[in-house]
Symmetry: C2
Subunit: 458 residues, 2 copies
């Protein structure tokens, strides 16, 4: 790599290292240096410019800290993705926060995100490394990698008590992607019951496929099965940890739902989005275990690991699987294999089982901290037997709004029941997720939540 | 890990190491040993069983070679994914073929697959390793990772001569996924022109969205723009290397198509599936460069690297991007980030640019071998200025069928034009892809192709 002439002014007030970093940024921004280009060594550049190596090393350190350059062990220093349109002026030099610290800012206590703090980074990196091997496979694969389906079967058996055959499993792009696919296999205009309040992304996917969505109430025992209307093509539900209220569907209702599905002839879509997370309570049988003939069971790596993988699974009766494969055939859509590979590698050496233990322990501790904060504010909580969020009931929509606004003013992002309704709002309260923030931020967020809830309790 | 008692018979004919491997396989198949379980060290197990360490080491080597176990440096030997339903008998011990060799079998000379032989495995592994860092991101991302969009912009500028802004780019799940999304943003029943012959997976995606597909002829200068019917909502085409005929859309037709799109008010979907591959000819401007206001440009990593990544890009006018984002919002579908991360990491240090050089060199050599074989058989070829497949015209459908059947009888899978038509078949010929097989297999395949084509030439 031949650098253009770089002009340093020894008489200027600005240190030579700063001038050099600026000059290198400018030639990068101007397009002379491009992503992937190797910079000369600090020694070579020092010799060329007639400055000490301290100057070149300091300039490189600055560029590395800013992310303009990256060092590769033994190979040198390389320019990183230059900006697309050459900006008139180089970007201001804002060094990123030191590793391990986050930008102080808004703390999110919203539900629906995984707990990255519980992830063993070394094991995670090992999995990605292993996922690169062997040679990337080719050819269409609407079903999912055999190794992925085998890993899912093992996971379901160990952690969800479901004995499935790999032939029953289809890889998906995650739960919402699977709901969207199942929706498109139902006749246009068909009636589908959903929980109210419920998971609105699933509702949106059902509606986008031209289905008629019918909200059905939820109580402390989950979906009110007796309230299901007649003439349904499908029922979408979250029995392990109702989203967002947090109830577990009772054993009696599970049996009733499967029975009703058989007599009425509808499909039950069991979204087991965080079913692996459970505290102090005995497991209940999956709907898919009670009614393998009428249940499409959906699992995902999004809450367990990260939505980055875009990998989930569908276990369903043959006719449903065939309909989904037919859709994939007609549309040419296939589940992406990159995330499947990472999941396989992560599951292979017991890392997934270890991660689940660690995740449950971490979330159980966080849950205790949440309960303490909520109780200290004079409130009760619900739905805390499973998952990674709880419900804090509030008297009405005005109280919900007041509490959320007060927290926002103090830099804490809270979620309310209002946005989880498909029909008119019913109950009010906070949907308090505790997986996302690092522990220190969680504590800060909970302190604010406690204060604003204490206000709301008055 | 406590092993159950293992019974070895010192008086049997079978070597102790073989007996031990069988016994370990049996307890794994029986479910006593499970995926992720650590086996005792060869030393410990030798002491327990009262055999020499040579015996235990040989048994472990056998299990490692078979893939029943995996060794982790410094950590020991671990059981790999046991079969799901415990089989009555352990699997027969069929050692996998040595690395680098494939099972001898059918050689595929079909188009549409990438060239894995050109991939630098070390660079590829490096990219996956890097993709694991930093912490996996969370939160919804319908647009695509910023670093991915920046890498795409860089790639388009360097290799496709298109100056795009990252804000114009949306990540997709690949070309077909993008066509399916664009199709769903058009009004049901709208008329879309496609090339005839053409890419039938795109046709299927358009039809699955309820659109009316109108085949338009293709000649040696690509899509016959003058033949486009009126009243179109969109035109789907492959200007860089028409699929499957291989023609490049002429400069005059490019201008005419963009002009026509402006006057008629239709959207041009430019599928640039293998646009990075070009031989001995000057580049032509992308449709997206000529008509950024009327063109939705699609690129993909599938032919460049591997479909495993499930990562592609869409560069389109604001209204089209907004419509796609609206669909993603309504359906909850998002492009998967795992493959985006790998692409970013692969592009970061110049590995992508190096790979492209290597890929072009490799494919150029293969193309010469293909031309030699075809010419030696007394045939001509077309569409060889770009991409990774050529057309070998044949007089009629019967000749096409004869040649394909004769090759199949000799273990070579050839593709004919017949399956690339949406309407009634027109021309006949072979669509000869040369990217997939390793070089040795390619040579074997070409020898057969030459023989059967010589037959067909008579």
């Amino acid at each position: 790599m031949e650098l253009p002439p770089l002009h340093l002014d020894r008489n200027a007030d600005r240190p030579l290292a700063v001038q050099l970093a600026d000059a290198l940024r400018a030639v990068t921004a101007g397009g002379t240096l491009r992503a992937g280009d190797r910079l000369p060594s600090t020694r070579e550049l020092a010799a060329t410019l007639g400055v000490s190596r301290t100057v070149t090393a300091a300039a490189y350190d600055q560029l590395l800290a800013e992310g303009w350059a990256v060092g590769r062990r033994g190979a040198g220093t390389f320019v990183v993705g230059a900006p697309a349109g050459p900006p008139a002026h180089p970007r201001p030099a804002t060094p990123p926060p030191p590793a391990g610290r986050r930008r102080s800012g808004v703390v999110s206590l919203r539900p629906g995100t995984p707990c990255l703090e519980a992830l063993d980074r070394a094991a995670w990196r090992r999995a990605w490394r292993a996922a690169a091997d062997p040679a990337p496979d080719v050819g269409p694969d609407p079903v999912g990698l055999p190794a992925f389906r085998a890993a899912v079967v093992e996971h379901l058996l160990r952690h969800r008590g479901l004995a499935a055959d790999p032939a029953q499993v289809l890889a998906t792009g995650g739960s919402t992607a699977a709901v969207a696919e199942l929706a498109r296999t139902l006749p246009a205009g068909a009636r589908v019951a959903v929980e109210e309040p419920g998971y609105q992304r699933a509702v949106a996917a059902l509606q986008a496929a031209g289905l008629t969505v019918l909200p059905v109430p939820v109580d402390a025992a989950g979906l009110v099965v007796e309230a299901l209307p007649p003439g349904l093509a499908a029922v979408y539900c979250t029995p392990a940890h109702q989203y967002p209220l947090g109830a577990r569907l009772s054993a009696a209702r599970r049996l009733a739902l499967v029975e009703r599905a058989r007599t009425d002839g509808f499909l039950v879509i069991e979204d087991d989005y965080d079913g692996e997370l459970r505290y102090d309570v005995a497991p209940l049988p999956l709907l898919a275990a009670l009614g393998p003939d009428v249940v499409a069971h959906l699992g995902t790596t999004s809450k367990l690991l990260t939505p980055t993988l875009g990998a989930g699974w569908l276990v369903a009766p043959p006719a449903v699987r065939a309909a989904v494969l037919g859709l994939r055939d007609r549309t040419g859509m296939r589940p992406v294999r990159a995330g499947q590979r990472v999941f396989v590698a992560f599951a292979a050496h017991g890392d997934l089982a270890r991660h689940l233990r660690r995740l449950r322990r971490e979330l159980a501790e966080r849950r205790a901290a949440v309960a303490a904060a909520v109780h200290a504010a004079g409130h009760l909580l619900e739905g805390d037997a499973a998952g990674a969020h709880v419900l804090v009931p509030l008297p009405d929509a005005a109280a919900e709004r007041t509490v959320i606004d007060a927290a926002a003013a103090r830099g804490v992002d809270l979620d309310g029941l209002a946005r989880h309704h498909a029909g008119r709002p019913g109950r009010s309260g906070l949907v308090l997720g505790y997986a996302k923030p690092p522990r220190a931020e969680l504590e800060r967020g909970l302190a604010v939540a406690r204060d604003v809830l204490a206000l709301g309790a008055r």
